[in-house]
């Protein structure tokens, strides 16, 4: 029975697929879109945390945090990160306390007297507060676009670190080739052209506009590219704060396993020495 029914089923599926095949061949290809043709892959970005020996450059993380604080934090939260976590960037306990205390957005709280909603100063144990009380407020303040939380941004986009760096430095006018091929292409009102963004137009205006926008405490020259790189490094840390521990444990594991494999090969040869196989 199996050998009679099975070929019939197989031929049946194949027949329906051939029908589909003709359908596919006869349908016209989708017309090319500007997004498809002119969306650029992010440029590689060299960070100290790259590679299997990668470690964070703490000076750079502090600079990146400064860029985040002075530029990005106006709209974007990092709500998965706590102020206490900043100790990993090399800040002392007192500095962390001061950063939390002086953070502009306060923590939602309750007035102990009246029980009404209130806000209070941040503590090191708090997570970074959301910038907007809710989605509606975020949309209302940003031309109907929600500024996404940045905690995981470098893991939530393909090639995330390179993407963040490319996006921040990629604002430009549409290229001549694009306008030639798609004469009707126009960036809608309230959006900004950026070839590294999947739809080519995004709601965020260019955040890093001029050199020296941030005055670095350590005297580094704050070019736009430098600031973009630093904040990218910082966002790699917010997305993967345990990266250094992972790399260290990884190297130890690999060394251990190579020794382990050498020993098991020795044991295998010893056990099998008298048996042809």
């Amino acid at each position: 029975m199996t050998r009679i029914i099975a070929p019939l089923i197989g031929l049946g599926f194949a027949f329906v697929l051939v029908l589909g095949l003709f359908g596919t061949i006869t349908t016209a290809s989708e017309p090319a879109t500007a997004e498809h043709e002119f969306h650029l892959k992010p440029k590689p970005v060299a960070l100290a945390s790259n590679g299997i020996f990668g470690k964070f450059d703490r000076q750079q993380l502090q600079r990146g945090f400064q860029v985040y604080k002075e530029v990005c934090a106006a709209c974007h939260s990092i709500s998965l990160v706590a102020f206490r976590d900043l100790a990993a960037l090399g800040y002392s306990e007192a500095e962390v306390k001061a950063i939390a205390n002086q953070w502009t957005t306060e923590q939602p709280s309750v007035n102990p007297e009246t029980g009404e909603a209130a806000t209070r100063k941040n503590l090191p144990s708090d997570k970074f507060p959301h910038v907007y009380p809710n989605e509606v407020a975020a949309r209302a303040a940003n031309n109907n676009a929600i500024p996404p939380d940045l905690s995981l941004m470098t893991k939530a986009r393909p090639d995330g670190a390179a993407y963040v760096h490319s996006l921040l430095t990629g604002y430009q006018q549409p290229s001549a080739e694009l306008m030639k091929e798609f004469p009707n292409f126009a960036t809608p009102e309230g959006l900004y052209f950026n070839p590294y963004f999947p739809t080519l137009n995004l709601a965020m205006p260019q955040p890093l506009v001029s050199d020296g926008q941030v005055t670095y405490a350590d005297g580094t020259n704050a070019t736009v590219d430098q600031m973009a790189k630093d904040v990218t490094a910082f966002l790699v840390w917010t997305a993967e704060p345990k990266l250094e521990a992972r790399h260290t444990a990884g190297l130890a594991s690999v060394v251990f396993l190579i020794i382990f494999i050498a020993l098991t090969i020795g044991a295998y040869k010893s056990v099998w020495r008298n048996v042809k196989h």
Partner: protein
């Protein structure tokens, strides 16, 4: 049951003798994976993958149980609880990356295990039951992996659940009702997440149970081997321990090394970036794709594009489930007297085409549905079904296989330029009577 020359368990320590008289558990282990299980002496490294699959399951269960202690099964808090594991739980990043990549490792190992079975004819009599139970394990693994991927409640979790439970709505008349009943709502939400977690915790133990049956069924005829001839006598076998425990040790070491490289240096390579975005029912990702190990089946699903008697979606769902269920009939579709593809050159050529075909299906499953990709998907899907259901029965009935060695020992010694055996596999022991 075992071969008559299998070693018998003889407890040495008094406490083991005491235990053996009352509950012969040590004897069971000894006969299952100890010196009491005679195994063909000529197994190659492809026979390591059963043990590796067991190791992968053990890793998943251990890491999973600890993760469950920290995970919150609630649509509002699930995503953040996973991030809390990554940031605040001691070695939480290790547990979670080990569990996420461990699933991929489990599938890699099991796919190689299945390919070994296909190439060397491990599904053939008298081992049909071993194969059938293996397909059951594979189906359970797929269900477990799918539900596990939903738990972090990221964008791909949510939309993957939406798409996969949507398969049931392809069933005529009652489909939508069944889908809502399975999800506990109109779309994946708190109810679905809770039941997925419950089942995700349960199914691995069901898998472990079926693995016990799988090994039990294997021990009735004993392990197959690459020579394609059954065990004839003691000279053909060696005890599982220490011979294959030593060989499996090497395999486990290499497996852990590959695992470690993914876990510590590329932990997110096999995942999808969108799953680091919290689930949002109002925002559909540009491309919904399942995990890499489901991509060939996803390509089969997508390849049916015309309504012919049945709606295209139903064809796709039937074909996708059919592509796995047909494996249950494999032992009866393949009628060749020869066991391994080494002795069946024509069949081997088709099998190699199938391997490439499935890899191409995997590529198509993850690629954008451009015209050319859809075409490739339809051709490769057709080959997949034709291979198992048409080509295999015809080739196995018509191809005359190459001659097989008289015994495992002859095959081994021929390979080494030796002559007929005078001794048992383990030198220094007298040649025993052939088993009858």
């Amino acid at each position: 049951m075992s071969f008559p020359w299998a070693k018998q368990y003889e407890p040495k320590a008094p406490v083991m003798k005491w235990l053996d008289d009352r509950l012969p558990l040590p004897r069971l282990v000894y006969n299952a994976v100890g010196a009491g299980y005679p195994v063909p002496r000529n197994l190659n490294y492809f026979w390591n993958f059963g043990v590796l699959a067991g190791a992968a399951l053990a890793i998943q269960i251990i890491t999973g149980i600890v993760l469950a202690m920290h995970y919150s099964t609630d649509a509002a808090t699930a995503f953040n609880s996973v991030e809390a594991i990554m940031r605040d739980v001691n070695a939480g990043w290790f547990l979670r990356y080990a569990h996420a990549n461990g699933a991929s490792m489990f599938f890699i190992v099991v796919y190689i295990h299945i390919c070994r079975g296909l190439y060397y004819g491990s599904y053939k009599a008298p081992r049909e039951m071993v194969w059938l139970l293996g397909v059951v394990i594979f189906l359970l693994m797929m269900a477990t992996a799918f539900m596990g991927y939903v738990l972090p409640w990221g964008q791909m979790s949510f939309w993957g659940a939406q798409v996969i439970t949507g398969f049931f709505s392809a069933i005529p008349l009652v489909g939508e009702t069944i889908r809502i009943w399975l999800l506990g709502g109109y779309a994946p939400d708190a109810a679905a997440l809770n039941r997925f977690f419950s089942l995700h915790y349960l199914l691995p133990f069901v898998i472990a149970g079926v693995i016990i049956l799988h090994i039990w069924a294997l021990h009735i005829p004993g392990s197959s081997n690459p020579a394609g001839v059954e065990v004839k006598g003691e000279q053909d076998t060696v005890p599982f321990h220490p011979y294959y425990t030593a060989k499996d040790g090497v395999g486990v070491g290499v497996f852990l090394l590959v695992f470690a490289i993914f876990l510590f240096f590329q932990p997110n390579l096999l995942g999808h970036p969108d799953n680091y975005i919290p689930a949002n029912p109002l925002s559909t990702p540009a491309h919904i794709v399942p995990e890499w190990y489901f991509l060939p089946f996803y390509a089969i699903l997508k390849s049916f594009t015309v309504d012919f008697i049945l709606p295209a979606k139903l064809w796709g769902v039937l074909a996708m489930f059919g592509s796995i269920l047909l494996l249950f009939f494999l032992p009866w579709l393949d009628t060749s007297p020869a066991r391994t593809a080494n002795h069946r050159p024509r069949y081997r050529a088709f099998l190699m085409v199938l391997l490439v075909d499935v890899l191409v299906l995997g590529y198509v499953g993850g690629a954008e549905p451009t015209k050319i990709n859809v075409l490739i998907g339809q051709i490769t899907t057709a080959y997949y079904f034709l291979h198992f259901l048409v080509i295999l029965p015809i080739v196995s009935a018509t191809e005359r296989p190459k001659p097989v060695a008289n015994s495992i020992t002859e095959a081994v010694l021929k390979g080494k330029g030796g002559t007929a055996p005078a001794k048992s596999a383990i030198e220094g022991q007298p040649n025993p009577m052939p088993a009858e």
